[in-house]
Symmetry: C2
Subunit: 437 residues, 2 copies
């Protein structure tokens, strides 16, 4: 496994990329048809034979697949059942249940290389000391980034999750650790930074110089806060356990997808028809090298656009616009569709340490209660209300300044819609009870 | 890396093993002297040159090293500083502070193979579905067993730590998981078993058929409970991040140490002199293949004995008597030295679901308060008192039957000595307060 060769592939000429994709596509469709019940049945249902799929465009003949298909029968999406190495699961918080993703040894090697390419794209080198704060275990991110950093040749501190933010801050300050590069959720850096500053620390003087953040959409205001607070260069990554990963390059305006590994389509989620380049739609993936859990025309629920193959960094693999919205997360509030991303962007444009926005229904009307971790201030309150009105088109029912915020779920949701049932709602009820006392 | 070859080495003739050890010993002592400050200084302090160490017996000329040395200067024990891959830490609960252990890529490969040999010795095969409940992250066990199972060719469910025992029970029951082999702390299986049975479940009907447990000494009564409860074959393992790992074979009466990787000596901890074969003493290790953090005559604090190279399983690598005592854990209670192991063995000989034994001082006298998770019963109370008296030579101040026990520390201590300061004591105080209310 030579990382250099794989990195070089990101600079292939576009027609070479397409040629390679089509070669792999023909092979994988044949393989899927012969081995994976889910895709065999999908092709059969529209009377397709593997040999009908020759070009990237031919993919459109195949019906979509989705998380629901895999939740129903995880093994139905698996091709090579004999060489499986392990499984990972996604959290079932979207309400659709847990997705089980199976990996062969070969799949995992591809994932590790993909992540090494991502880290390389994000500016990490073999000389970095990588502080990996993504969770190791059932969720794939910790291990896949660990193995990616290993392929890159970097030194790794496998922090994973720890009991408190202070345990992490102490690790970052540890004179025997001296991490130069962070990997994990963006909000970890935000939260630890505030905690550290409150205790008189100066995160900007830490040894960290780079961050590769992922796991949730990152509004520009959040990126700016992190960069300023820690004095580092923050790149955004994006990955799905079912599909793979992609990362920003120096340009910081989109992820370079590994086109030799995955074909990405962008469709209108209502009609299922492809949209134009640069136009937003739902991302649909077809994996080309995996033989464990396969994804053929797999609807991701993520909204983005393809930005073309012209990047000043020299990479020719198509860039995806940074993810702002997971379609599942869109909420209708007072008649308008909003995404948590928009609300977060508006809130973090101001000097706040965190917030929780609760959408609820009272007497058949939508109400929006916002709790803000910041010093109480009328000016700030007015700024926040006006900003939310402008960017998210609704007025909050109230804004309350508070000292501490609860952590809602592993990723720490900041916008919670109580109108939808979720096991996480209980935490919000308890928090609101405690605040109103 | 051919696992078969490494497994075959465990069947070498004893004189071949010693020849190999001495060849590696000469090389590693030279390497340590030239590259690792700690060991250079130790040899210098007694005017030793690397060429003075030719035979295993020559090791005795070298002063001991210990955890304290590495805590003081973690980098001083590192040889190859250029090819480091990662670090792991041990918990600092012994009061001596956190040990940082550095690994090169090559070190880790050796560790993975060592663990594959351990799993093989414990009866695991490539056909197993391994449920790995050891924590991944800063602590090395999760990752090292994961990579060991990978080398073995098994399928892995990387469970790591989860929020609740039920999350694990549900994984074990998950019809898409079907684990056949468990790896983790023995008390996990005990605890989950009781929880599952209390809810009407039958752990003995689970798909688990094997367990490889480690992380704490395992009294025979605990092993029996686990085997009976889950209907499986339970093997005990033993490992130190600084040194490596070893496991029981079919004989279930000692760990086969990887003698090609590590030389083990057994010494009288008071005099530092070697003891006879079969005689108990402190284990002292010298690693032969690691080039990251080296261990040269490293005092482990673990008490055991070497049982010779004659094992019906055919392996010729010396067997170590199962660890019963960490010398650090020995406590003087009412004038008698006891180990937590002895207390656990006595308690679990009875029908209890768990216990917490608290050693404390009141008015200059030792007191022993025991909280037992079991149905209140005078008969059981008398049995437990008599058993403790016989095996641990003291009488508990009281035994109280309770419904729920607190988890004390990551490994869940069952014997806590409040006379020694520890951050874990707070949990015990809180628990005892809540019980006395």
């Amino acid at each position: 496994m030579d990382l250099k060769e794989f990195i070089q592939m990101q600079y292939m000429k576009p027609d070479e990329i397409i040629k390679l994709q089509e070669k792999r596509l023909r092979k994988i469709i044949r393989f899927a048809y012969d081995n994976a019940k889910l895709y065999h049945d999908k092709l059969k249902s529209v009377n397709l034979k593997p040999e009908d799929i020759k070009k990237v465009e031919d993919l459109r003949k195949i019906p979509f697949s989705s998380k629901e298909d895999i939740v129903k029968d995880p093994f139905g999406a698996v091709g090579d059942k004999k060489n499986l190495y392990k499984l990972h699961t996604t959290s079932g918080t979207s309400g659709k249940g847990e997705t089980i993703v199976y990996f062969t040894y070969n799949d995992w090697e591809h994932y590790a290389i993909q992540n090494a390419r991502c880290l390389n794209s994000a500016g990490f080198t073999k000389d970095d000391i990588v502080y990996n704060a993504t969770p190791y275990g059932m969720f794939f991110a910790g291990q896949v980034l660990h193995d990616g950093a290993k392929v890159l040749g970097a030194f790794i501190i496998p922090a994973s999750t720890l009991k408190t933010g202070w345990a992490h801050i102490n690790n970052i300050k540890n004179p025997f650790f001296k991490p130069t590069a962070f990997v994990g959720l963006p909000q970890y850096l935000l939260r630890w930074g505030h905690t550290y500053i409150a205790a008189g620390g100066e995160p900007s003087k830490s040894t960290l110089k780079k961050a590769y953040v992922l796991g949730e959409p990152v509004p520009p205001t959040v990126r700016e806060k992190i960069e300023q607070m820690w004095g580092l260069d923050c790149r955004i990554g994006y990955g799905l356990s079912e599909i793979g990963a992609s990362a920003e390059c120096d340009e910081k305006n989109g992820y370079h997808w590994c086109e030799d590994e995955v074909i990405v389509e962008v469709i209108d989620p209502k009609t299922g028809e492809p949209v134009e380049e640069d136009e937003k739609g739902e991302l649909v993936y077809t994996t080309l090298t995996k033989t464990g859990t396969l994804a053929i025309r797999y609807k991701s629920g993520d909204e983005s656009a393809i930005l073309g193959r012209d990047c000043p960094c020299g990479r020719t693999h198509a860039k995806l616009r940074l993810i702002e919205t997971r379609l599942d997360d869109l909420m209708k509030v007072k008649g308008t569709l909003v995404s948590p991303y928009t609300i977060e962007h508006a809130m973090f444009a101001h000097d706040i340490k965190g917030f929780l926005c609760v959408i609820d229904k009272e007497k058949d009307s939508d109400v929006i209660r916002i709790y803000v971790k910041a010093k109480e201030s009328n000016t700030l309150q007015n700024q926040l209300i006006s900003e939310i009105k402008t960017t998210a088109s609704f007025s909050p029912t109230f804004i309350k300044f508070i000292k501490d915020l609860p952590q809602i779920g592993r990723k720490g949701k900041r916008v919670v819609d109580l109108r939808k049932e979720s096991p996480l709602n209980k935490l919000v009820y308890e928090f609101e009870d405690s605040v109103s006392k």
